[in-house]
Amino acid sequence: MKHTIAVLVENKFGVLARVAGLFSARGYNIDSLAVGETEDPSVSRMTIVSEGDEKTLEQIKKQLNKLIDVIKVVDFKDGEFVDRELVLIRVSVAAKTGKSALEVVKAAGYKVACAGAKSILVEASGDREEINALVKILQPFGILEVVRTGRIAIGSGERVLKADGKPEVNE
């Protein structure tokens, strides 16, 4: 089963290596990992998508919490988070019968980041299904290069996960 985990960490060098090292040393796999700064520049937020049963997830959370530089670990329950991924896809525009790649992409409402004589660069963001759907549309034209950011996730309700990990104070 896939799990999406948010990890607030100190924004220091070596922290990514600690987290990645923990996963490899204990035999947990990482489907996707994205990391960036939060509203507090001393804190980074990682979104990790991992595969494993409940017991494995429990251990992953506990082991992450043991790392001194980890401030807070939250695993999102199904349907209670929004996740997005950014993708850049270079597609060949070599002559084809029927509609051109550019036409198809534009018709479907995707953004073209730049267009050249031999290829165009398609930009899209969305959840996993949306990105996979785009890849399927573009495949017939010849995908030359794909780069994905990995997923980032945030709770879909009103609850806020602040950078310091402390619970939000309600009025």
Partner: protein, 559 residues
């Protein structure tokens, strides 16, 4: 007042009340050693950095204080790694300080450069590379705090040599504030009450006590809980000493080489009260069939240890000592009469034993050390058969008297650990129970012991084999003794001891064992005893790897 990084480091160590540092100098720690030259801290120069790490570990286990070791960059630092990993697996508080090449050379493959924070990341509780002298005091303070609190462990501080000479103001007044590190100490009151009820309702309870009970200084509470409520106590290798082996409720060690009665008891129990133990594979054997009738209470300061291997019914995360204190108040004495009778029956039927004939056997040597010292000794061990016989036949009665590499199983641990323990407890008798194989892994530390007048007693159970591996080859590999025969290849240990300035004693007859031990105890120098014991003795009982722990080989003590 401005101070150099090296001076700041020493001032920090003084503030942390460090009494002794174990280590070895080198090119990238010259500034630190210059400060150590007239610092009021004892320095023990070992003969190998691994020895320094194990000695700091032995000191920490004997005292509960943080052990400190220091080495230079590159090979000095990498030589510490086995010692650091040993401390990490057994949750031993340690601060390891390493020199590093100058900041601007890091990453350049400079002379004696090693990425020691990278290398030790999975075997330290935390580690630091100091990038600015202004951070140094805070980092040292955090390192001691992290090493000694929560579930203890080693912390490494890597200090580039230019940082050691940079100057800044020294200020040690700040409070440690690490937002990602807040260990839980007091157990959940509701869980403690649930546990008390489970104990009160149980009929076949067993206390399963590990190293965490010793770290928590919870021996008194273990004793009270057990004796007041008539609950038998089994211990892990690291838990030995938490409850006196001489007590009628003591079952000794459990697991792969545990006593038959401890293994039967835990398998038949209806409630396991685990205190600071982690259900390691050497203890549980085949997990699916481990203690099938038992509810499990698990008291542990590390939440990650709970329900890692065995599903726990009542987890209590926190410090064992205060939790047990609470628990004792709530428990109503369960009716364990029938249970105790059964346990005693197992004890009678399947005692630990060995062939009692005229042959000089290793178990006899361990028993005679116990008899000669009346148990008043600190025992360190190496790893293998010597370690298991020490665990089985020395009746530990006090905490912090059994120092052994349990988790990592590091051969070569015992001698340097004995040195650390003897520094900590100058008036205690310290024995290193060793084999002819493992003693040679850090034998250079004989010099450290002799020069510093640390009169440790080294007991070599010399059977001419790497005995534990040989035992497995005998039992599971058709006696094909591949690379395990040492007989005829060892140095003359008596002459070797003498060449280091120690006293060497060779014993070849059973009748001479006690006299040799008595002589060693009376000798004010380091003594190395070469006991020529029976060669193919096996450690029994034995649960084959992955087997169910009440299905033991050699339960009658003789194969």
């Amino acid at each position: 007042m401005k101070m150099s990084g090296a001076k700041i480091l020493i001032e920090c160590l003084k503030k942390e009340k460090v009494e002794v540092i174990f280590g070895y100098p080198g090119g990238q720690v010259l500034a630190i050693f210059d400060q150590l030259y007239d610092a009021p801290i004892k320095f023990i120069l070992t003969r190998h950095e691994q020895g320094a790490a194990h000695a700091a570990d032995g000191y920490a286990r004997a005292t509960g204080k943080v052990g400190v070791c220091i080495a230079t960059s590159g090979p000095g630092a990498t030589n510490l790694v086995t010692g650091i990993a040993t401390a990490y697996m057994d949750s031993i508080p340690m601060v390891a300080i390493t020199g590093q090449v100058k900041s601007f050379l890091i990453g350049n493959d400079a002379f004696q450069e090693a990425d020691i924070t990278g290398i030790t990341r999975p075997v330290t509780k935390h580690n630091y590379l100091v990038e600015d002298v202004k951070d140094l005091a805070r980092i040292v303070k955090e390192a001691f705090h992290i090493a000694s609190t929560g579930r203890p462990g080693p912390v490494l501080i890597d200090i580039p040599s230019d940082i050691q000479t940079h100057e800044t103001d020294f200020d040690y007044s700040g409070k440690v504030d690490i937002r990602g590190y807040n260990p839980t100490y007091s157990g959940h009151p509701g869980q403690i009450k649930r546990a008390a009820k489970a104990i009160s309702d149980s009929r076949r309870p067993i206390l399963y006590v590990g190293g965490g009970a010793i770290i928590s200084e919870a021996s008194e509470e273990i004793r009270e809980l057990a004796i007041k409520n008539d609950i038998p106590v089994t211990m892990t290798l690291l838990g030995l000493g938490a409850f006196p082996m001489t007590h009628r409720l003591a079952l000794g060690m459990l697991g792969m080489h545990g006593t038959a009665y401890a293994n039967h008891s835990i398998m038949e129990s209806d409630l396991i009260i685990s205190v600071g133990a982690r259900f390691d594979d050497r203890v549980t054997g085949k997990l699916d069939e481990f203690a099938p009738h038992a509810k499990v209470i698990h008291i542990d300061i590390d939440p990650a240890s709970v329900s890692k291997n065995v599903d726990v019914d009542i987890p209590i995360v926190g410090d064992a000592k205060p939790i047990l204190k609470q628990l004792i108040k709530y428990v109503k004495k369960p009716d364990t009469k029938a249970w105790i009778a059964r346990v005693e029956d197992w004890k009678k039927k399947h005692p630990l034993k060995y062939k009692d004939d005229g042959v000089l056997r290793p178990q006899y040597v361990v028993e005679e050390i116990f008899n000669a010292t009346k148990g008043n000794a600190i025992i360190t061990t190496e790893v293998g058969q010597n370690q298991m016989w020490a665990a089985q036949f020395f009746k530990f009665t006090k905490p912090r008297t059994m120092l052994s590499s349990g988790g990592l199983g590091t051969m070569g641990y015992g001698l340097p650990a004995a040195i650390g323990a003897q520094i900590a407890e100058p008036d205690s008798l310290v024995f290193d129970i060793a084999g002819d194989g493992s003693i040679q892994m850090n034998i250079q530390e004989l010099a450290t012991a002799v020069i510093n007048k640390l009169p440790v007693k080294i007991v070599i159970l010399n059977n001419g084999y790497l005995g534990m591996v040989r035992q497995w080859q005998e039992l599971f590999y058709k006696k094909r003794y591949s690379q395990t025969t040492l007989s005829g290849t060892c140095p003359d240990f008596v002459k070797l001891a003498e060449s280091y300035g120690a006293v060497g004693i060779r014993v070849t007859k059973k009748a001479d064992v006690r006299a040799a031990i008595n002589k060693a105890i009376k000798t004010k120098n380091v003594v190395m005893m070469d006991f020529r014991v029976s060669g193919e003795e096996n450690v029994f009982p034995m649960v084959p790897a992955g087997g169910v722990i009440n299905k033991m080989l050699g339960v009658d003590g003789l194969a």
